[in-house]
């Protein structure tokens, strides 16, 4: 495995992971708000800096990771720096990394007894803040918030509402692009705007 690890992880593992964790926490609490992560990280292709930072922060040897085949070139880097088991079947994943929206139904949605056992999808998109417009509403939003994303499928609002309908079960999503991230917790309702 060693020949293909060509890049270091966080320069300052403790502080960088803490600030990224804080960004993800705030993003989950305020769906649709843009946060920043991974500015001083060199990410392995094809990952963006925010995607790599979120994975370094959240994924470890206790969280099986499913990796989209399109992100396969980064597998060795993830295995080395996160120490995670990279699995082939998404149904056992705690975290999933994808470069295009995978089938959400294939990811674990948790159970009514343990809804926290669901998967979190780290989805890298071409751009956040521009592109197709949606309207978010739900916990954490006093008034509906706008969301603009490039790279989601045309019927994303319908796919998401099926996930949202499972509440308290369901998959949480962290959208990453370049050094920005935004979270879509399962509690949020999305409609096209």
């Amino acid at each position: 495995m060693s020949a293909s690890i060509s890049l270091p992880g966080f320069a300052d593992p403790v502080r960088d992971a803490q600030s990224t964790f804080r960004a993800v926490l705030d993003a989950m609490a305020r769906p649709g708000r843009l946060h920043h992560a991974g500015r001083n990280l060199t990410a392995p292709a094809p990952l963006d800096r925010a995607t790599a930072a979120v994975l370094l922060t959240l994924v470890d040897n206790e969280t099986p990771l499913w990796v989209d085949p399109a992100a396969a070139p980064a597998r060795d880097w993830l295995a080395f720096h996160c120490g995670a088991a990279i699995i082939d079947a998404p149904d056992k994943a705690t975290f999933a990394l994808a470069l295009s929206l995978p089938n959400l139904v294939a990811l674990p949605a948790g159970t009514h007894e343990a809804p926290e056992s669901s998967a979190t999808l780290i989805l890298q998109v071409p751009a956040l803040g521009i592109g197709t417009r949606y309207r978010l509403s739900g916990p954490g939003l006093r008034v509906p918030a706008p969301l603009a994303v490039t790279g989601l499928p045309a019927d994303f609002a319908r796919i998401w509402q099926a996930n949202h309908a499972l509440y308290p079960r369901g998959v949480d999503v962290v959208l990453c692009a370049d050094t920005t991230l935004m979270a879509l917790p399962r509690s949020v309702s999305i409609e096209e705007a």
């Binding site: 060693s2 020949a3 690890i5 060509s6 890049l7 270091p8 992880g9 593992p13 080395f80």
Partner: protein
């Protein structure tokens, strides 16, 4: 015997040099590396960072593993400009030793440097470590009580 390693295992030579480097102190590695060619540029991929590892052992008739205790280990991974990745895990918290050991591991994987480094770095370190073990064994042997001799004296 700490260095006894089944020779038919894969990577046996690399296991041997990693074991020798893990027991060598940082000054000794630095001195011997310095006598070799100019050191290439390298990048730290991880660490050096200290942490704890759980040492597990098998004792007692049942053979079940149990947690013997935690020990401090420092690890480091470096990548040389030529693309060789070296790892080191050393006991204790000597960050310089783990970094030099990782660098030496990376250089030893380079076929162009391997045989010279084995001769100038690994063999002297291994010989010094073996001499240390022999000295300890000789001191211990001097205190050995010969029960056979006592029986002969009584006879």
């Amino acid at each position: 015997m700490p260095d006894a390693m089944p020779p038919d295992q894969p990577n046996a030579p690399r296991r041997h040099w990693m074991a020798v480097l893990a027991r060598a102190d940082s000054e000794a590695i630095a001195d011997l590396l310095g006598t070799s060619d100019a050191l290439p540029e390298y990048q730290r991929l991880r660490g050096p960072e200290a942490g704890l590892v759980m040492v597990r052992g098998r004792a007692g008739g049942g053979g079940a593993a149990f947690n013997l205790g935690e020990m401090t280990v420092t690890r480091c991974t470096v990548r040389t400009a030529a693309g060789f990745v070296g790892h080191a895990y050393v006991a204790g918290r000597d960050e310089r030793q783990s970094e030099l050991a990782a660098l030496a591991d990376a250089l030893l994987q380079d076929p162009a440097r391997q045989s010279r480094l084995l001769a100038t770095l690994i063999e002297p370190l291994a010989a010094a470590q073996q001499a240390g073990r022999d000295a300890t064994a000789a001191k211990a042997a001097a205190t050995r009580v010969q029960f056979l001799a006592m029986r002969n004296m009584r006879a």
